[in-house]
Symmetry: C2
Subunit: 313 residues, 2 copies
């Protein structure tokens, strides 16, 4: 039996998991992400955690396939990270640096891309060609084609949150453009849309009593029949359906998987998006399947280990 590690570096915690080469997750833990001093402790912390685990479990170095690691930034040439604002990193050759610290082979990917690979491998999207739409604080995504994750030339493969779905938008997206899908389908985008809609309607809403409501509050209110909340979500589903329809015109996947915090809304989100997708999609794509992500926060470590297996076997 041989072993390998999947690592998912987030802005506050690093998730680490140990897998056997059959693909079974044996152990999973977290360490804090120390972003101070340009994040220079992050890789040594990861190396230390992995070395400790190997010592405790008495796993010899020779039985370790290596480390797959996902980072929240663009990955160029398959292993060089070009700025991770959240981590304090500038340009960093993660493969070389973590390899030197551990003496192990290292493969590197973008976190959203690896989450897609994880869902493709063990989660909600076990089909040959899949698109993961990650609806979180922002909107990200990952694309898996023929079982291979698509990184893109500039590390921007699957950056579908910045597809323009409303050219008439007046407020800017965090990226500087106007009308990106992220402005409507992310948790913050849904709250923004709800506030805008509430400001323009005389219709009563429980959300009007609540100053700092969340995306979940909008879904909960809609489930209780709150008209402005329902109308807000119809807008969200419309933009999400259009986003997915546009993505399908490019890569035409077998399945579209909705993940991220917003996807906890479950079936209403899935069915709402699907309905608008059908009115906006290219006819050949009408049978595209929709599913919810199933691995939650573990998708990244699964994907990181899956990439490792791909590259090292």
């Amino acid at each position: 039996m041989a072993w390998g590690f999947g690592v998912d570096v987030g802005g506050t915690t690093v998730k680490i998991a140990c897998f056997d080469t059959e693909g079974t997750l044996h152990s999973r833990w977290e360490i804090p992400t120390r972003t101070e001093q340009g994040g220079k402790q992050i890789l040594p912390d990861i190396a230390g955690a992995i070395q400790n685990y190997m010592t405790e479990q008495k796993i010899p170095q020779g039985e370790i396939l290596g480390i797959g690691i996902g980072v929240p930034g663009a990955v160029e040439n398959r292993w060089v990270v070009n700025r991770c604002v959240n981590l304090g990193w500038d340009r960093l050759d993660v493969r070389e640096a973590l390899g030197r610290l551990t003496g192990l082979p290292v493969v590197v990917g973008n976190d959203a891309t690896l989450a897609a690979l994880g869902e493709w491998w063990k989660g909600g999207g076990q089909k040959s060609d899949m698109v993961l739409v990650t609806l979180g604080t922002g909107v990200g995504g990952g694309i898996v084609l023929d079982g291979k994750s698509l990184a893109g030339t500039h590390g921007a493969g699957g950056e579908i949150g910045h597809i323009v779905v409303n050219p008439d938008e007046t407020e800017p997206c965090s990226c500087g453009k106007r009308g990106c899908a992220e402005q409507y389908c992310s948790a913050t985008g849904i709250v923004r849309l709800a506030k805008r809609h509430l400001a323009g309607t005389a219709c009563p809403s429980e959300l009007k009593n609540c100053k700092n409501f969340t995306c979940k509050d909008v879904f909960d209110a809609a489930a209780r029949g709150d008209i402005p909340a329902i109308e807000t979500l119809e807008q969200v589903y419309g933009y999400l359906g259009r986003l997915v329809a546009n993505v399908c015109c490019v890569v035409d996947p077998e399945i579209v998987v909705l993940g991220g915090g917003v996807s906890k809304a479950g079936q209403p989100l899935l069915e709402g998006a699907r309905q608008y997708f059908e009115t906006e999609c290219f006819h050949a794509c009408r049978e595209t399947r929709f599913a919810l992500a199933t691995l939650g926060n573990d998708a990244g470590v699964y994907g990181a280990f899956c990439l490792l297996q791909r590259e090292c076997i």
Copy 2:
């Protein structure tokens, strides 16, 4: 030396080319596409043309790698054509049918996808990851990632002409949707936009004297300083730039190649699209290169032979 054939089936003619396995095109000719009686003569005509060529050139069957063929329709499961309206075909297993007629291995692809593969292989887009935007009567496209053409689950990979770039559009696209890129960036779309613009402006234009002007007339008038023609093309470049920006958010290619009849407009088109692309693209993609297609009508036969080499070696 071994040989192979690249075939590109169009609505009026079938282009056939013979290549050696070094990739040199030795001979290229056309036969009419007989679409009558549900297009049932098309494959026998192709088989006959190839057999005649082999006899004339005294090439034994054993020296032939096979036939790569591009068809104007969705290709499912890599070789079954699911409706080619232009050819009269319903569902047809082209690989099986042409293989039976010739006794040769056959590989099948969508024509736009194979044109992209051709431009990737020998034309304007010789980079690892490339998107071809075909601006013809309609807008099509093809995507090559890591040197492999992307067919899509339902044969709709690269159908980028049906990405919605203007949700406010009131007129329907040929596909039934509204606001598809094809409605603005195809030859017919450009004429449509020009007519709409001329109807709404008091500004003089040479196009107002011409009842049935073409897309080329619009470019020619713009080159002579015709204001409404220039304004029309600014709109076209805006939509084309947005289309390409959206596609780059999905697959993030190294290079975008503009092909099809409209691309004969050359540098003004390339620079116009590039300028609007830069204002609408995701920041990581700003360095994406733009180029013009160079193979013209031969892209399809090059791509068909390239696919054959891939699958048969």
